[in-house]
């Protein structure tokens, strides 16, 4: 039941904060914050309680929903879901905090939407029924559309439309694939079901598997985003309010990565294997192309947005490298990118509140005015360029170390991305904080609330950099058995259910 609570708490929080907002906006903010902190507490307690070494499925809940069609309310949590949920509620709570002053219109509806996006994301990370998955996938979409469209910057409507159309188009392809898989499975076995575990290992003709895999993959590539499906992202990230950008970059993109790890690879192992070089190529293209575009941007938020394209390229590269190193690197990258980019967007938002511009050319020389903020920005800029000692380094290093075993040329090209990352990251510091100002700003440095947001982010990124073991242990691929080890050692891993989770019948826990 605890899984249901995790999903229902933000729903309840969303409704309550909408209702109270008319009378008391402060209360509305507090309700939103507390519901997310409560969820964060629950997830942390689970994490601590189960020990980091626990593999397999921690919790599992299945109740019939529409039994005629084989649809059930089917939730389950393993290490991967656990860390993703922790990230979700952590960033979610900070997103509420960062909007404390920024959002003053329609506060109740804003928090309703924010919490609903987070509900959708939590649902995506927990559900093991493909129909329900599609449902949560769409639940994320609409409130996000409102967040961008109502509280965004100047070109918010354009950006919101673009975001919606891109994601929706990808989602529809996924729906087609889900339905096809549903019928293929039924024609094989006579059982109509959307149950993830039963659909695993569905025998399929090679071409069909490839097409269905591509259907899923495109939806996730759009969300990730991978070149060439990335163009919604800079607009959406730039135009969204700060909390929107944080949730988009920190969490929404991760659902794409999660989808690849959870669905594409296990459901279609052979087809993914076959497609892997192309997927890795797209990843490398994203790393380099996104990096160069980031360097060229004149707009602070847009620059950060393109860095996401670059960093998510590592996710794609690692996911299709088919080994444990790369897999853990990918999960680390999802978390650390969420934190570092989330932090950078918050800093951009904090700066925007002070100087009311995102133009890099109108900044510069802010270091003496905002030394505290400069220091924090420096830390996250360094994280973004992959400095050892900060979490992102562990992620990128593991991804590259893993992908090296799979494809050397692409890994070398991806490693060049580290140089490109240095180029665009240092540009941020130079343009914003160093050099001379044209205008003499007198601005307040980070306030107490802003320090309360930044301090946990800094601590977490440092913690992940010097002691990432708790996360790495938690997300050890579920089939930690002989076949994995053999494959990790053999130079060219063959197709297999490396990422297929254990059938949980064996490890099923009483609820």
């Amino acid at each position: 039941m605890i899984l249901l609570y995790i999903i229902l708490i933000p729903v309840l929080g969303a409704l309550l904060s909408w209702l109270t907002a008319a009378r008391n906006t402060a209360l509305c903010r507090w309700i939103a914050l507390c519901s997310l902190l409560l969820d964060l507490g629950i997830v942390t307690a689970i994490w601590l309680g189960n020990g980091a070494a626990e593999n397999g499925w921690l919790y599992h809940l299945q109740a019939p929903w529409i039994p005629q069609f084989g649809i059930s309310l089917h939730l389950a949590m393993d290490g991967l879901s656990l860390v993703m949920l922790a990230l979700t509620f952590f960033l979610g709570a900070l997103a509420v905090l960062i909007s404390w002053r920024e959002i003053t219109t329609k506060t109740g509806f804003f928090h309703f939407n924010l919490l609903f996006v987070i509900t959708g994301i939590a649902g995506v990370f927990l559900t093991m029924d493909l129909f329900l998955f599609y449902f949560f996938w769409e639940v994320m979409l609409i409130p996000m559309y409102f967040l961008i469209g109502i509280w965004g910057h100047e070109r918010r409507e354009y950006a919101a439309y673009k975001f919606f159309i891109f994601t929706q188009a990808g989602g529809l392809l996924m729906l087609l694939s889900i339905l096809a898989l549903y019928f293929v499975h039924a024609s094989n076995t006579g059982v109509y079901t959307f149950n993830y575990f039963e659909l695993l290992n569905t025998p399929m003709e090679r071409t069909l598997a490839m097409w269905l895999m591509l259907g899923f993959l495109v939806a996730f590539l759009v969300k990730l985003p991978a070149v060439p499906f990335h163009t919604w992202l800079p607009d959406a990230h730039t135009e969204a309010p700060t909390a929107g950008s944080v949730v988009l970059a920190g969490l929404l993109l991760k659902t794409g990565a999660y989808g690849i790890l959870r669905f594409v690879l296990p459901l279609f192992p052979a087809a993914s294997q076959e497609f892997a070089p192309w997927a890795m190529l797209l990843g490398v293209a994203g790393i380099l192309y996104g990096g160069q575009l980031a360097f060229a941007q004149p707009d602070f938020k847009r620059l950060i947005a393109y860095t996401s394209v670059s960093h998510m390229g590592f996710v794609l590269l690692g996911a299709f490298a088919f080994n444990e190193l790369a897999y853990q690197g990918v999960v680390m990258q999802m978390i650390t990118h969420g934190i570092s980019t989330g932090a950078l967007f918050m800093l951009a938002g904090v700066l925007y509140e002070r100087i009311h511009t995102r133009e890099l050319s109108r900044m510069g020389g802010l270091w003496p005015v905002l030394p505290g903020m400069g220091t924090v920005t420096m830390i996250f800029v360094m994280a973004s360029l992959g400095l050892p000692g900060l979490g992102n380094f562990i992620a990128e290093f593991l991804v590259l170390l893993g992908s090296w075993q799979a494809n050397r040329l692409l890994t070398v090209l991806a490693a060049l991305g580290l140089v490109v990352a240095t180029v665009y990251s240092l540009r941020i510091m130079q343009k914003v904080f160093f050099g001379q100002t044209e205008r003499q700003y007198t601005l307040p440095d980070l306030g107490l609330r802003e320090w309360l947001i930044m301090a946990p982010l800094v601590l977490v990124i440092l913690w992940l950099g010097v002691y990432p073991q708790p996360v790495l242990k938690t997300v050890t691929p579920n089939t930690e058995n002989e076949s994995v080890k053999q494959k990790a050692e053999s130079k060219k891993p063959t197709a297999g259910n490396l990422f297929a989770p254990n059938s949980f019948q064996h490890k099923k826990q009483p609820l």
Binding site: L293, E324, F434, K485
Partner: protein
């Protein structure tokens, strides 16, 4: 105790970052210098304990850092003779530089930030040399890059400084990437990144000259040339002069640029297995020492002379590494650390005395107004120029010159280049000395004597620059081998091709003679015949050559044209993202179709009737066509 050596600087850096705006200057000085000082003392204690123990190395496991699958890298520190030599230099010279900085930076508004970055720098460098595995070494390696960026761009208001800082970070990062790939390969083949285990497994895994190990060694060399500012990645170092002078002293003497030397020496087994790569090390070193020596000859800025001289001296170290004279390279590193720190801080004292004037042509005659600085600077210069018998630089450099020829991997060409380099070194060093301290004063600002916090470190370094050489004396002069014996367990002894005392004497006398010749030419050039030299220098070809050397053999232009410009240009062109055009075009076509179709809904009845008629005719024609024809 071992962990305290890097932990203290890190901790004090953290403390200073948190409190640099609230602490008083005294507090900052105490924390900043104190932490390094205590580290240095712990190094002494630890080093003593280590030497007493008789073990080859001692390892301290702190915690498991990254463990994934079969990959395992711990926060493990390892102390052995090689790292002890480095730690000793880093903490002691680092401490002296910190003390000096309290005087040099006394008036700077960002006093706290400066010491925070300096401490971080020392901490990162200590991590680098104490790391037990290559991943941890990489942490220190990149940390050093970060600190160089922070400190070179310390005076951030001038965009030029920011540019120099970014250049340093980015150029070294190119090398770092090569090194990262080397790590991937090492892990792939040896299944570990632990240095000792790699070095143990390597000889059994690869035969000498095996393509894999050669490639790995080359990639490691790529990392080394980046950090150590050797060809072809040397361009960042001259610009790194943008930072405050103590930073230059730290970068050039105690940290950063010697990292590459450390890496090659540390992985000496791999380079032994890869003769092609080791030859490349020697060639890179030889080429760099000549190129940088020529560039140093024509600089105007006193710090740039020293910068090019560092590149050139590191070139000597690479040459030594390349001919398998491992301990000679490390010996030169130690003596170089002393005299280069001394020279930089001496130059800093001059610069401060002249109110931040760095152009040597606006100095002159300072030996009278700054006698203390003059004396120590002269000692440092003598050591750099390798003045025979009384300077440490002589003993360390002389060893390299001799071994470049006589070792099994040596070559006459190396020897000739090393001798030419010695000649150049003497010439540019004393050109600098004469321009700065002799002749008449050409500046305007009245020089003021530096305080004791700046002078005392200089005296100590002057002492060390002189006596440090006596721990290793050649066959011809006493034959003391304290230093190479000390390194023996880690670094194999050099294999000699010819051991002839007569030849060694010849080489030494030749080197000494060339040094004196260089000093004499500098004397003629600057003091005796400046007009004649000027006429010579103004000949068209010489003028071109001078300009060419002045800008460091035009490497900057080359890289700008080849790499920077194309990248920036394509980035600018594609600022609006070409891929997006595809989608916006799609949207526009859809819109256009929509408009076109919307136009047919005009509300005019005759148009509708017309449409119906045309449609009916078309359908009927098709039907008739299908049925009858």
């Amino acid at each position: 105790m071992l962990y305290l050596i890097p932990a203290l600087p890190f901790f004090s850096a953290l403390l200073l970052i948190l409190g640099w705006r609230t602490f008083s200057r005294t507090t900052v000085s105490v924390i900043g210098c104190g932490s390094i000082g205590i580290s240095a003392l712990i190094t002494l204690a630890q080093g003593w304990q280590f030497l007493q123990s008789g073990h080859d190395s001692m390892v301290q496991h702190l915690w498991t850092w990254v463990q994934s699958g079969s990959f395992n890298a711990g926060m493990d520190l390892r102390l052995d003779a090689l790292s002890l030599a480095f730690v000793f230099v880093i903490t002691f010279v680092g401490f002296l530089i910190h003390v000096y900085s309290t005087g040099y930076m006394a008036d700077d508004a960002d006093y706290g930030r400066f010491f925070a970055c300096m401490n971080l720098f020392v901490g990162a460098m200590l991590m680098l040399v104490l790391a037990d595995n290559l991943l941890l070494l990489y942490l220190g390696w990149e940390g050093v890059g970060l600190c160089s960026y922070l400190l070179i761009g310390f005076w951030y208001k001038d965009p030029a400084n920011g540019y120099a800082a970014r250049k340093a970070f980015i150029v070294t990062r190119v090398g770092d990437t090569a090194m990262a790939i080397a790590l991937f390969m090492l892990f792939q083949y040896t299944g570990s990144l632990q240095i000792s285990s790699i070095l143990e497994k390597a000889p059994g895994m690869w035969t000498t000259g095996h393509a894999t190990v050669v490639l790995i060694a080359f990639l490691l060399l790529g990392g080394a040339v980046g950090k150590s500012a050797q060809l072809p990645l040397q361009t960042w170092l001259p610009d790194a002069m943008a930072g405050p002078t103590p930073v230059s002293a730290l970068i050039h003497a105690a940290t950063m640029v010697t990292a590459g030397v450390y890496l090659v020496a540390r992985t000496n087994v791999l380079f032994d297995l890869a003769p092609a790569a080791q030859t490349a090390v020697a060639v890179v070193g030889a080429a760099t020492l000549l190129l940088a020596g020529c560039s140093a000859l024509v600089q105007k800025d006193i710090k740039r002379v020293l910068a090019y001289s560092t590149i050139s001296q590191i070139g000597y170290m690479f040459l030594a590494l390349g001919v398998g004279a491992w301990s000679a390279a490390i010996f030169h590193f130690v003596t170089h650390a002393f005299f280069k720190a001394l020279l930089f801080m001496g130059a800093g004292a001059v610069i401060v005395a002249l109110h931040h004037e760095q152009d040597m042509f606006k100095m002159g005659g300072l030996r009278k107004s700054l006698p203390g600085v003059f004396r120590v600077f002269l000692i440092g210069s003598a050591s750099l120029a390798a003045l025979p018998f009384i300077t440490s630089g002589f003993y360390s450099k002389d060893q390299i010159v001799w071994l470049a020829w006589s070792s099994a991997k040596g070559h006459t060409a190396y020897w000739v280049i090393a001798l030419a380099g010695a000649f150049l070194t003497a010439m540019y060093t004393f050109r600098m000395v004469f321009l700065t301290f002799y002749g008449s004063y050409r500046g305007h600002a009245a020089p003021h004597t530096p305080g004791s916090s700046m002078m005392i470190p200089l005296y100590i370094l002057a002492f060390l620059s002189t006596v440090a050489g006596f721990v290793e004396l050649p066959h011809t002069l006493g034959h003391v081998t304290l230093f190479s014996d000390f390194l023996q367990p880690i670094l194999p002894a050099v294999q000699m091709l010819q051991e002839s005392t007569a030849l060694e004497w010849t080489s030494q006398l030749l080197a000494a003679g060339l040094t004196f010749l260089g000093i004499y030419i500098a004397w003629v050039w600057v003091i005796q015949q400046p007009d004649g030299m000027r006429r010579f220098a103004e000949m068209p070809f010489m003028q071109w050559l001078r300009g060419f050397w002045y800008k460091g053999w035009a490497f900057d232009e080359l890289y700008n044209e080849l790499l920077v410009r194309p990248f920036v240009r394509t980035a600018r062109l594609n600022r609006r993202d070409l891929v997006d055009k595809v989608y916006t075009t799609l949207a526009r076509v859809t819109e256009w179709c929509h408009d076109a179709l919307a136009r047919t809904q005009s509300g005019l009845l005759r148009w509708y009737i017309m449409g119906v008629l045309i449609g009916a005719v078309l359908i009927l024609s098709v039907l008739i066509w299908r049925i009858y024809i």
